[in-house]
């Protein structure tokens, strides 16, 4: 069984017809319920529910306090390489883009790690483009070994792999895996991933599950909002998280809601996710899955991010650079433009003012 079975089930689902029938009472009772079924979840993603965004946010805040308390996990990304063989028409690393390509040597990774370590951050997320010839699992394993010396927790956001490669990296100290589906809509997926390994929809769709099988402690998923119709994307991503959460109770599931930002290719989003949508979707996730982690990256503006912290975000990146080698020196072309350029101390100060406790390190590998 794969999550693809669910995708097929909803392939011809008439979302508009469902949304047209949603009543105010249905929205209210979905908000009031202790345990939401998938119909309630979709109800909360409906345009109608947008009128109830404040009660949704109130409930989301309550649940977040109940299950997560007043702590926010902080993480920081490190870009190891921007070599990429994929042709994703929305991405700055698209292989057709003439950009300065670079891959950090192991010595350079160590220099970057030292520079990042000085900020006090303890959770690191390493990223690469999809170029298995350049950034092999062995290279990542070496990188992980170095990062593990400096950081309590090492996660990765890299190209999809087989279970064995995931297990190998798990054994090198990587404890978290991020794989964004980009879009759950199979037709759109084919239109925006023109060539490269990534053109294989199903292989990518199943990679978070392979990560669960490989024993990662954290798995983080999400669509890239802007590629396909947003409400169905939000819905399927929620079902995906729910599917994994039920099947792999030992894995801590996280959801991210990246939305398309001005990248190098100048891609214009096909479906605009507004700030209102953003708030509606994260609160719907919280109500549907009270224990799911919700990540917020520096793609978003400081003001917006700070407001979301009051509602239901649990993980927050800080002090981020999205260019290769950017912490120790001026780096290369960024994957996407960051909107929140505050330093780690600035973020910490802001969190403390809100009465939130920044957590740099919430666990460490026992051996």
């Amino acid at each position: 069984m794969s999550f693809y079975d669910t995708i097929k089930e909803f392939k011809d689902f008439d979302y508009d017809a469902f949304f047209r029938r949603v009543s105010d009472d249905q929205v209210k009772s979905a908000i009031a319920k202790d345990r939401l079924n998938i119909k309630d979840f979709l109800t909360l993603l409906s345009p109608r529910a947008a009128d109830f965004i404040e009660p949704m946010a109130q409930k989301a805040r309550k649940l977040t306090k109940q299950y997560f308390g007043n702590v926010i996990g902080l993480y920081i990304p490190i870009y190891l390489s921007n070599y990429c063989t994929n042709e994703c028409i929305y991405c700055g690393f698209n292989c057709k883009n003439k950009i300065n390509r670079r891959k950090l040597s192991l010595e350079e990774i160590e220099i970057e790690a030292k520079a990042i370590k000085k900020t006090g951050m303890q959770h690191i997320l390493f990223l690469t483009g999809e170029a298995p010839g350049y950034t092999t699992p062995e290279y990542m394993g070496e990188a992980a070994k170095i990062l593990e010396k400096y950081f309590a927790s090492v996660s990765m956001e890299v190209y999809p792999m087989d279970v064995d490669d995931y297990k190998f990296l798990r054994s090198k100290g990587v404890d978290g895996l991020t794989v964004y589906q980009e879009t759950y809509n199979e037709d759109t997926y084919k239109k925006v991933h023109l060539s490269g390994r990534k053109a294989n929809y199903l292989y990518r769709l199943d990679s978070p599950e392979r990560g669960c099988m490989a024993g990662f402690r954290y798995v983080n998923i999400g669509p890239l909002y802007g590629l396909a119709e947003k409400r169905s994307e939000a819905f399927l991503a929620g079902l995906h998280a729910d599917y994994l959460d039920r099947k792999y109770p030992d894995v801590e599931l996280n959801i991210s809601l990246p939305r398309i930002n001005e990248a190098e290719g100048g891609y214009k989003p096909a479906s605009i996710m507004t700030d209102e949508d953003y708030v509606q979707f994260i609160t719907a996730y919280r109500l549907f899955m009270p224990r799911v982690g919700i990540n917020l990256s520096t793609r978003e503006t400081p003001e917006f991010r700070d407001h979301l912290l009051d509602i239901c975000v649990t993980r927050f990146s800080a002090g981020s650079r999205t260019d290769v080698g950017g912490y120790a020196e001026e780096g290369s072309t960024a994957q996407f433009e960051i909107s929140d350029a505050r330093t780690v101390p600035e973020i910490v100060h802001m969190l403390e003012k809100k009465g939130l406790q920044p957590v740099f390190k919430d666990w460490e590998q026992p051996f």
Binding site: D24, D25, K28, S29, I31, A32, K33, D34, R35, N37, D51, F52, I53, E54, P55, A57, Q58, K59, R61, R246, P249, D275, E276, V279, E303, H307, D310, I311
Partner: protein, 259 residues
């Protein structure tokens, strides 16, 4: 749409499962089955007692009712497997309720041995319904082993104490993709209704029916309670409905302000 559910390859519309134990007279069994509409009933297997001149209990059970032999008496997985094979050989069909009990004081099931027996019997083609102590991590193992449904106990067998394991059972209902059939401890129709409202697929009631002064009416009462609970569940009855939008929007007001 008809509200049916499936266990193995059999479909059921009545969600009250019954048992044949402890009836004052076996003659009540067919009458109780008729009054309640129960479509599945448990039986046990024992050495023939030559002094008692016992009759074949199967002759009291109409052919359209599915037999669910249990492995009561088994103290480990090997004994449960043996009993299951004998029951199938006797022409009882492929359904088996695995019951492995080591604890003669409270009659609590042994999940570990029950799991082992489940693994073996599923491979042998049985439709396995394990009777278990509600435990979230075990339930996943039973699913992986191929169980057809899970029968967690509500409270100790025959205790009539109702669903004392409610919190855990509602987790199982939420987390498991298998039908959850609450077994043991249901002593009153209201308790059966409670299990059904929680989203249980069915309940199994034996002692409370068979030991009633009027077991036929008791069977009907349980059946109606199960139906009522099931309908309440399907009606998706909600808790208190909170007020709608509030005048001030402390958490999301920023969205409007910025326009």
């Amino acid at each position: 749409m008809k509200d049916v559910f499936k266990i193995g390859n059999k479909e059921f519309t009545n969600r009250l499962f019954t048992g044949t134990g402890k009836f004052a007279s076996k003659k009540f069994i067919p009458l109780m089955l008729e009054a309640s509409g129960s479509e599945m009933i448990t039986v046990a297997l024992r050495r023939v007692d030559f002094s008692a001149g016992d009759e074949n209990i199967l002759s009291y059970i109409p052919k359209n009712v599915v037999l669910l032999p249990n492995t009561s008496g088994a103290r480990n997985s090997a004994e449960a497997v043996r009993i299951a094979n004998i029951a199938r050989e006797a022409g009882c069909g492929d359904f088996i309720k695995i019951e492995v009990i080591n604890d003669s004081r409270y009659l609590m099931p042994d999940n570990m041995e029950t799991l082992k027996a489940t693994e073996i019997l599923v491979k042998d083609g049985f439709t396995v319904l394990p009777y278990v102590m509600p435990d979230v991590s075990f339930i996943k193992r039973f699913e992986d082993a191929g169980a057809a449904a899970i029968m967690p106990l509500g409270s100790a067998i025959g205790s009539n104490r109702g669903i004392r394991t409610k919190e855990i059972i509602s987790m199982l209902i939420e987390l498991s993709r298998l039908p959850i059939i609450v077994d043991a401890g249901i002593g009153r129709p209201s308790q059966a209704a409670e299990a059904m409202e929680m989203g249980a697929a069915a309940v199994l009631v034996n002692t409370a029916i068979s030991s009633a002064e009027d077991p036929v009416t008791a069977g009907k009462a349980f059946s109606l309670a199960v139906q009522a609970g099931r309908m309440a569940y399907l009606a998706d009855m909600r808790g208190e409905i909170t007020s709608g939008a509030v005048a001030s929007s402390p958490l999301t007001g920023f969205l409007g302000e910025r326009k």
